[in-house]
């Protein structure tokens, strides 16, 4: 239990600090155009990296498995049907089905 408390407290502290740092440092002022241009592109860069690290790797090992296929199937649903719920459900169902084969 003490391990759990320490991990929860530690994770909470670093998360508060990290999420608070940017807004604390930068507030209510006009931004230079170059800053804005970079900000707009942060989302595609970060989300693509999150997909890559989670769907194409297991820890530090690059792997392609049933979960990769499931994520691709989910992505097709998100793209064609614009449904994030359909996307995640499809990903789980396809992955589970491939593992059950």
């Amino acid at each position: 239990m003490s391990t759990s408390v320490a991990v929860i407290a530690g994770c909470a502290a670093v998360t508060f600090a990290i999420k608070g740092a940017g807004p604390m440092a930068l507030g209510g002022r006009e931004l230079p155009p170059w800053f804005t241009s970079v900000i707009i592109l942060l989302a595609p860069a970060l989300f693509a990296a999150l997909v890559a690290t989670q769907a194409l790797a297991d820890g530090q090992r690059l792997t392609i498995g049933p979960d990769t296929a499931g994520v691709v199937a989910g992505g097709l649903v998100a793209w064609k049907a614009h449904s994030v719920i359909g996307c995640v459900v499809t990903a789980a169902v396809v992955t589970a089905a491939l593992r059950a084969l």
């Binding site: 239990m1 759990s4 408390v5 991990v7 530690g10 994770c11 670093v14 998360t15 508060f16 990290i18 999420k19 608070g20 740092a21 940017g22 807004p23 604390m24 440092a25 930068l26 507030g27 002022r29 155009p33 170059w34 804005t36 241009s37 970079v38 900000i39 592109l41 942060l42 989302a43 595609p44 860069a45 970060l46 989300f47 693509a48 990296a49 999150l50 997909v51 890559a52 690290t53 989670q54 769907a55 194409l56 820890g59 530090q60 049933p66 979960d67 499931g70 994520v71 989910g74 998100a78 719920i85 996307c87 995640v88 459900v89 499809t90 789980a92 169902v93 396809v94 593992r99 059950a100």
Partner: protein, 227 residues
């Protein structure tokens, strides 16, 4: 309210992710209550999964917290982007910044570099409910559900981010940046500790600098031509 509606689908999808977190956390030695408390207090999915997986593999508390910090480091650039759109003093802005999660940050973005903070708060609310509720179901009912991998729940989280990514690929430049960001992450995965590949991928957004200077130059030329 508009933000709540925009965030609701992500809340439901996040609940499915949280459900798998609730199940996995028990395998790492967290009691159901501890798993629920972690989701309620930390409220950062990828950091929670990372910390838990390190504990499950026999890692120390320090290693788990450090890895969680690295995985969360993407909130540094996100927070810096958001900051100028928040009113109030530094502490009040930092408090408002706690409401950022990936999906709500993307929902609140107006597309011109500024953010609508009420859309941020509104879209985070259903995601918080889904995240804590899903964790509770997974933590308390995990034995009934069985192995999360058999159920394909490990594919849910990356699929969630893929849905977010697809929203962002409207123009050619963001597609190039996404490809570059993914590539940077892939190259670093075998060498760098968890979280670093994602943080490093934010460098891809610097391609915006090139575009900005080119557009500024184009404006100057137009002004010169007009004069």
């Amino acid at each position: 309210m508009e933000g709540v509606r925009a965030g609701a689908p992500f809340g439901v999808a996040g609940a499915v992710v949280a459900l798998s977190f609730g199940v996995v956390a028990q395998g790492a030695g967290l009691s159901p209550l501890a798993a629920i408390a972690m989701s309620a207090i930390v409220f950062a999915g990828s950091a929670q999964f990372t910390a838990i997986s390190i504990l499950a593999a026999g890692g120390s508390v320090g290693a788990a917290v450090l890895a969680a910090a690295l995985v969360n480091s993407r909130f540094l650039p996100m927070g810096a982007a958001l900051g100028p759109s928040l009113p109030g003093g530094p502490l009040w802005r930092a408090a408002q910044g706690q409401t950022v999660v990936d999906a709500s940050w993307a929902i609140a973005a107006r597309g011109d570099g500024t953010f609508d903070r009420w859309r941020l708060f509104g879209s985070t609310a259903p995601q918080y409910v889904g995240w804590v509720g899903g964790t509770a179901v997974g933590a308390l009912g995990g034995n009934v559900l069985g192995d999360p991998e058999t159920l394909g729940l490990d594919a849910v989280y990356p699929a969630f981010f893929l849905a977010l990514l697809l929203h962002e690929l409207g123009d050619r430049r963001s597609r190039v940046v996404a490809a570059l960001g993914g590539l940077i992450a892939l190259v670093l995965i075998p060498f760098a500790p968890a979280g670093v590949p994602v943080l490093a991928a934010s460098v891809a957004a610097l391609l915006g600098l090139h575009g900005a200077s080119a557009r500024a130059a184009a404006r100057e030329r137009e002004q010169e031509a007009a004069a």
